[in-house]
Symmetry: C2
Subunit: 232 residues, 2 copies
């Protein structure tokens, strides 16, 4: 299998939160996959998926192309049922709740900590695309989104948001209980975004979540632990 995986000028640095969700699911299932570097403006290379965003999984042996991190996790469980990341309907329901919470609540405070650092990792063409599209979506210059003030506020907001995870991760090793499941992949993959691009990023004020993040860096083949981070 191959998965298109977002990168910037240095194609060893992989920072997409959605790619990390799918990569972590792949690692939990113990499946082999080649992570093919892909850049924001290379949409033509994803043509076979019928859309222009990553992750895109190409399962050459079965002649299947799947896009969207959730759809990839579901596809992997259906096609390779060993070591499921969502073993039943209850796990799918619970992971969907974690996904929605992550997208609606956890994402916003990560944005000021990641957006400008991502921009610095991009080459000229991707950088121009990223700046224009993100500034249009956020209705503010990147420098303002990631200003020191905005980063300070985001760090405080993040600590407050992470309090929702603390009781669970104080009592259990993973959001899935004794073993990680796709809900863990979703939150972990999302936190990999600032972790990879922002050398100053830390999970402050959420000690149980911090210990869980360290455990997640080592799941599967330890892909998270070995990942190259942006230089300071």
């Amino acid at each position: 299998m191959q998965m298109f995986d977002l990168t910037g000028e240095d194609d060893r640095i992989r920072f997409s939160p959605f790619c990390w969700r799918a990569r972590t699911a792949m690692a939990l299932k113990g499946l082999n996959c080649e992570y093919v570097p892909w850049r924001f403006t290379e949409t033509a290379r994803l043509e076979q998926s019928g859309q222009g965003r990553v992750p895109v999984l190409v399962d050459t042996e079965r002649d299947r192309v799947v896009h969207d991190s959730w759809a990839i996790a579901v596809y992997l469980d259906e096609t390779y049922p060993d070591q499921p990341v969502m073993r039943d309907d209850a796990a799918r329901a619970s992971a969907r709740l974690v996904e929605t919470w992550t997208n609606h609540v956890l994402f916003p405070p990560l944005r000021p900590l990641a957006v400008e650092p991502v921009h610095r990792l991009l080459g000229e063409t991707d950088g121009a695309y990223f700046k224009e599209s993100r500034e249009a979506a956020l209705k503010a210059p990147l420098a303002e989104v990631s200003s020191p003030d905005a980063q300070g506020k985001a760090t405080a907001d993040l600590a407050r948001v992470l309090r929702t995870l603390e009781p669970t991760l104080s009592e259990h090793d993973f959001l899935g209980g004794t073993a990680p499941y796709y809900g863990d992949c979703i939150v972990f993959g999302t936190l990999m975004w600032p972790y990879i691009v922002n050398p100053g990023f830390a999970l402050e004020g959420a000690p149980a979540t911090g210990r869980w993040f360290e455990r997640m860096l080592d799941v599967g083949d330890g892909g998270g632990r070995k990942a190259l981070r942006a230089p300071a």
Copy 2:
């Protein structure tokens, strides 16, 4: 079994979100329990539990007294393992996340919709206690906490917060998937608070959650459906 259950002047109206969590768990398990009316200032009647808040479960046959809605759900599953509300470690981890989200995120917008209506249901002694303790905790007069402006803002906030449940409840009948689990009891029990005390309460802008709430009113013996609500 007996459970002390919060009420006001009319002891047929039961409105505690924490008592409803435990009652719904009891109903899901198909267990019989007498719900004994208890009022805010009757702390002496809870002496055997070593604290002064409800729900308090008295399991006379086994000579056990358990307080706190979470502890009651765990006790019921351990003692009466048929039809578990949390069947394994994964379910406990997931329900704990739902509980924390409910307490931190869902509760605040419900407060303006419930606090003053609760106050109107209380007799003189309980009403004075409630007003003083809640105004001290909230640092504002009850009339301000539940002002029309505050209720309008709370209704908008609630619709935004409930968006976190919508994808899961669009795709599954319950937060537990095909069957309800303790996570469903937590959210449902909490929403019973404004539903019982505020005749104008509605789950606006969250259609899948609204349909799920109707299903939850009928679980077990349909105790939710038959519950008496405050008159308009």
